[in-house]
Symmetry: C2
Subunit: 329 residues, 2 copies
Amino acid sequence: MTKRPTLADVAARAGVSVALVSIAMRGAKGVSAATSEQIFKAAQEIGYRPDARARLLRSRRSRLLGVQFGLSYPFHADLVEALYAVAESAGYQLALSAVAASRGEQRATEALLDDRCEALILLGPQAPVARLEKLAAQLPVICVARRLPSTPGVDVVRTADDDGARQAVDHLVSLGHRDIVHIDGGRAPGAADRRRGYRSAMHRHGLPSSFVPGGLTEQDGAAAARGLLAAPSRPTAVLAFNDQCATGVLDVFLRSGIGVPGQISVVGFDDSHLARLAHINLTTVGQDIPRLADLAVVRALARLEGQQTPGTETVVAPHLIVRGTTAAL
Amino acid sequence: MTKRPTLADVAARAGVSVALVSIAMRGAKGVSAATSEQIFKAAQEIGYRPDARARLLRSRRSRLLGVQFGLSYPFHADLVEALYAVAESAGYQLALSAVAASRGEQRATEALLDDRCEALILLGPQAPVARLEKLAAQLPVICVARRLPSTPGVDVVRTADDDGARQAVDHLVSLGHRDIVHIDGGRAPGAADRRRGYRSAMHRHGLPSSFVPGGLTEQDGAAAARGLLAAPSRPTAVLAFNDQCATGVLDVFLRSGIGVPGQISVVGFDDSHLARLAHINLTTVGQDIPRLADLAVVRALARLEGQQTPGTETVVAPHLIVRGTTAAL
DNA sequence: TTGAAAGCGCTAACAG
DNA sequence: CTGTTAGCGCTTTCAA
């Protein structure tokens, strides 16, 4: 529990000035190989690690990207993991701030601001546009997986949710399905687009749309599925809002002895970790998580380098991943 | 994107010295009510927020608790949420560092150290004891949900996993089950204790133990369940390592047309968010998450306040939560 | 009650 | 290539 060594300690031990140690530790050029080696040896010996905060206090850059995510969304977890990788290769660190039932988005972003993050990457934020705009006046703000009316200073990186829904419908129709229900996501980010994509694709095939209110949790899917079973006639296929919702749907069907995909086909959305589980084996519309993460960071860096755009929107194409929950009628 | 206001800006606007503003902002005593009001008004007007890092750089305390957690464990997510609440009421902030496939524990803890956290709270860490001991030499380390041979400087807060398994077995036996299999957690934290608890409880009831290798993911549970189905005879009840594992088990059973709890009973462990979902409705051994979180913080603070113990172990009692996946034979 | 001044650990000019 | 110097935004003596 001894005090952590500082630059000065390393300098003393290596017999050089602090400045030189600073240069060496940062890997900047301007130190002889021999000296550098001595310095690293000294640092190693006393277990020196640079103080991230002092460092950022001095250099006006924190090289910190603030990420706000939802604790209970596997899709966010996947995104966070991808972001770690991208950020690192861009020379940035991540500061995580979770949103949960007892911790709202405002609290989450404020913590990030107090940490002096250089930019904010918000995963599926629900905050009102006005608040995002206010944040964007202070630092670059990137919204991932939420559509937004063009907002000054806010960049959006999202999946083409409407096209994803279309792909799902096309797939189901090509399998012979005509009675396809969409369990929607209500007011969740992306839900409106998925509804729209579903509706227009159905229309294009000359089929009537059929919506059931859903949501983004297993519970929502389960409730919707129970509703479906209680109705006089049952569809032959279901497009769920997301994978979690689809999982709830699957569960209820299985419990009721309804075979999937034998009696009914189910399609999810996201291709989160969940869908890939062997025992779920869910046909789903895959969001390109690495690409979303990459673009989010790229956008953030672009703004940090002074690019002044009114607010960009980058749309990433989804792609259907056919697994085991869909079959020909 | 204007520069954030500093203490000096507030001081200038309020017509006082920075020192006074500092005192006021911290809510320390020594400022007249009138001045204080002026200061807060000025701060408010220019949107001042203290710089967390500069603050900690100066006062040798960061009031930061570093939390390492696994991105893909719902149980950890629940703990993190609970920790946020406890930390806040103790006047501390949380620094989150995630462990994922592409980001090992070492990386995670190092990030926390560089942030100058005052203590480390590790959720289900897998790191070797030697490493934990080394960390504990630098700062208080609290291991949550992992049993550890008494280690100098490391405090352990965990659930009585053995007793939890015992409760599950007692419950199943009281329902008339005698053929109870345990799908274990392999080398996962807590797995050994749960095995032991299961074995001794079975023994006490005069029943033979029966283990199936499992793990902590849905996949592990699903694989184990498939193995069970392939065997010549099937048990009447299963105790899974945790809720995720149990979910995988449930899924496979449902798919195979095996009614739960009609034909077989299933018990999980953790009472994570997952188990509580209406459609899963899993009978499970509940870990007392708020209490684990509370104790973790209490232990950390005790050490920060100079308490020097060789390494404590606090064991929290679990309690069986009977839901819908268990029934009388 | 208030202010001046010193420094936390580090980086960034600028000299030598 | 190396050292000196001056702060980053804040807290904290110590005087006034």
